[in-house]
């Protein structure tokens, strides 16, 4: 979708308005979308599309995806979560998932940071070194 600089700026401004103490306020975001849809300013679809993208990136930045080959015990989950929060601050959405393809170990992704500790990654590294 073609988006103008002004629309991009407007979306950014709306997004900034939804951030409280450095964290995205979900309620505000919902209200903003509702208001824009109701008022239908010029190019509102493009503005909302860009707003969505900004929210998506922010959510990705504050989401920790923890993959493991097997189900993690509760105490390990808690310690991983605590460690991540200590490093990335509060407001982190932590999601645990199982991926047998990892063979063993953990793969943690927070935003664009990846902590790769899986057997699969090590094997891939080994294969590359050949």
């Amino acid at each position: 979708m073609k988006i103008t600089k002004q629309q991009r700026r407007d979306a950014k401004q709306l997004f900034r308005g939804c951030v409280v103490n450095g964290l995205l306020d979900e309620d505000r975001a919902r209200r903003v979308v509702g208001q824009v849809v109701a008022q239908k300013p010029r190019g509102y679809v493009a503005i909302l599309a860009h707003f969505l993208r900004l929210v998506k990136l922010d959510v990705a930045r504050r989401t920790a995806k923890i993959e493991s080959a097997i189900q993690l015990p509760e105490n390990l989950r808690a310690s991983v979560q605590a460690n991540l929060e200590r490093r990335y601050g509060p407001g982190l959405n932590v999601s645990f998932s199982q991926n047998a393809g990892l063979i063993g170990g953990l793969r943690v992704q927070v935003g664009s940071d990846v902590y790769e500790g899986s057997i699969r990654a090590r094997l891939a590294e080994l294969a590359e070194s050949f």
């Binding site: 990136l57 930045r61 664009s112 940071d113 902590y115 500790g117």
Partner: protein
């Protein structure tokens, strides 16, 4: 004690985690050799990015939510959504003497089928030019072997001299001639065991050229025996615009290694007009704002930061140098276009080649009026200064008077003499391609021309007379040329000897 050490080592090994932190992103858009990548929050400018499967990219645009990267190599295998990792490394190319005699691409990978390049070091492609503290003014000559250049537009080691002209006016030939001339001098000095002589290594960077042209250049260099002192960096017209944009910087990094290691190098960028066009293409697909002629705003900085890396270092920093001969192709002789004016203002002078002169048979077709060397005269050897000091003025006067003479008005004897002398000097400066002349012979021939020894020779016979004189000097009077080369100046005794030799030659010449 050894037990304790082992214990500590074991402890450290136990603490060391095998988990490595990586910064990743996903490809959002790919096309025209440029990828837009979401994520990669820690990417650095000019950092190499790993696309997997051996494909690397270069981060050029760091934006708020994404990174714009150019792909080095084949981008057709990259898909949307693919994961990209940062490597923490800036783009580097192999450097060193192992590259001499090789033909490599913009990444320093061999393309000549002679096996892998042997190099122990690598240099970043982008580097800040040496500062004023490390520099020294130009004082040693680069002998191009082209008489018109060495006499009137001398080039010094560490200088940047632009070669500018229309298509097919002999721009590349000047560069190739210079490489051949210096390779011959290097070889001669090696054979003579001259420890004083500083060899000049050459780097030829071909940007956006036809592969056949580059093959021809390599062939000429091989035939002339210049390849052992030369590196050829190729980004031909069939290479991607990104490789064409990087090639001059890669070549420059290879030249800088020689400079940093107390050696002298010469780099020829053939040509920077096509380099600017490649950069314009990269910038436009990266959606950078365009300016005049659709070039991006930083096209001046592109060339200034490249050419500024050519320098002469002072003794404290090894006394090395990197001389640059950038080439610019003009359209219909228009030197006031955007890129030509930019590069003219960056360089320390230019050699302007004219189409008209070329078709009149004046080859090299150097326009004396428009060509200039701003710093090279400090590097000219004394013998050359003595004989060539007035030649540029004489030629300029000749051109002025020749214009008057066209009206057929009666001329006084002095004017007539000036015109006749001018005609002969023009003849003397004509020189076939790939045939450099040594500086001592140049000095002797110019001395003969300046002192009227060609005045009684018919204009069409001047070249023949000059060739025979050269042959006479190099065979029967080789002692004299050796003396001129050694003393580097025409002392009274040497002048007398030269006079006797030329007079003797003139008596036998018919």
């Amino acid at each position: 004690m050894s037990n304790l050490l082992q214990e500590i080592e074991a402890q450290i090994a136990g603490v060391k985690t095998s988990v490595a932190k990586q910064n990743v992103g996903t490809v959002r858009e790919i096309g025209d050799g440029v990828a837009k990548i979401e994520g990669l929050t820690d990417a650095m400018l000019n950092e190499m990015l790993d696309f997997g499967n051996g494909v690397t990219g270069l981060a050029l645009n760091l934006e708020e939510t994404e990174v714009g990267a150019i792909i080095l190599g084949d981008y057709t295998g990259i898909k949307e959504g693919q994961e990209v990792r940062t490597t923490g490394k800036l783009l580097q190319v192999p450097v060193g003497k192992g590259l001499l005699g090789r033909v490599v691409n913009a990444l320093g990978q061999p393309v000549d089928g002679k096996g892998p390049v042997k190099s122990e070091a690598s240099y970043p492609v982008e580097k800040i030019a040496p500062g004023i503290i490390r520099r020294k003014s130009v004082s040693q000559p680069v002998q191009t072997g082209i008489m018109a250049i060495d006499a009137m537009i001398p080039i010094g080691r560490g200088q940047r001299e632009l070669i500018i002209g229309d298509r097919s006016t002999g721009k590349t030939t000047i560069g190739i001639d210079t490489i051949i001339s210096n390779a011959r001098q290097n070889k001669a000095a090696e054979a003579a065991g001259d420890k004083e002589y500083r060899p000049l290594y050459s780097i030829y960077v071909g940007v956006g050229q036809k592969q056949s042209n580059i093959a021809r250049v390599v062939n000429v260099l091989e035939e002339a025996g210049a390849m052992p002192y030369t590196i050829v960096v190729v980004a031909s017209a069939s290479d991607s615009a990104t490789n064409q944009y990087l090639a001059p910087f890669a070549g420059c990094a290879m030249g800088e290694w020689f400079m940093d290691n107390a050696m002298d190098a010469l780099i020829i960028y053939d040509d920077l007009s096509k380099h600017a066009v490649a950069y314009r293409q990269v910038s436009l697909v990266l959606k950078r704002p365009s300016g005049r002629e659709a070039y991006p705003g930083d096209v001046f900085y592109l060339h200034s930061r490249l050419l500024e890396r050519s320098a002469r270092l002072n003794e404290k920093y090894g006394n090395g140098s990197l001389t640059a001969l950038p080439i610019i192709e003009t359209q219909l002789g228009d030197v006031s276009a955007y890129i030509p004016t930019n590069v003219i203002s960056i360089t320390d002078g230019q050699i302007y080649l004219e189409t008209d002169l070329f078709y009149q048979g004046v080859r090299p077709a150097i326009s004396v009026g428009l060509s200039v060397s701003r710093v090279g005269s400090a590097a000219q050897i004394k013998a050359m200064k003595q004989v060539a000091g007035r030649i540029k003025l004489d030629l300029a006067q000749f051109r002025e008077l020749a214009a008057f003479a066209q009206f057929g008005s009666d001329l006084d004897a002095a004017t007539q003499a000036k015109i006749e002398r001018g005609k002969r000097i023009v003849e003397v400066f004509k020189q076939p391609q790939y045939n450099p002349i040594s500086v001592e012979v140049q000095a002797a021939v110019l001395w003969a021309a300046q002192n009227g020894y060609f005045d009684d020779v018919a204009v069409e016979k001047v070249k023949d007379c000059q060739n025979k004189l050269t042959e006479y000097l190099t065979t029967r009077k080789s002692q004299l040329t050796v003396k001129i080369a050694k003393e580097k100046a025409l002392s009274d005794a040497l002048t007398a000897e030269l006079k006797a030799a030329v007079t003797e030659f003139k008596q036998t010449y018919k």
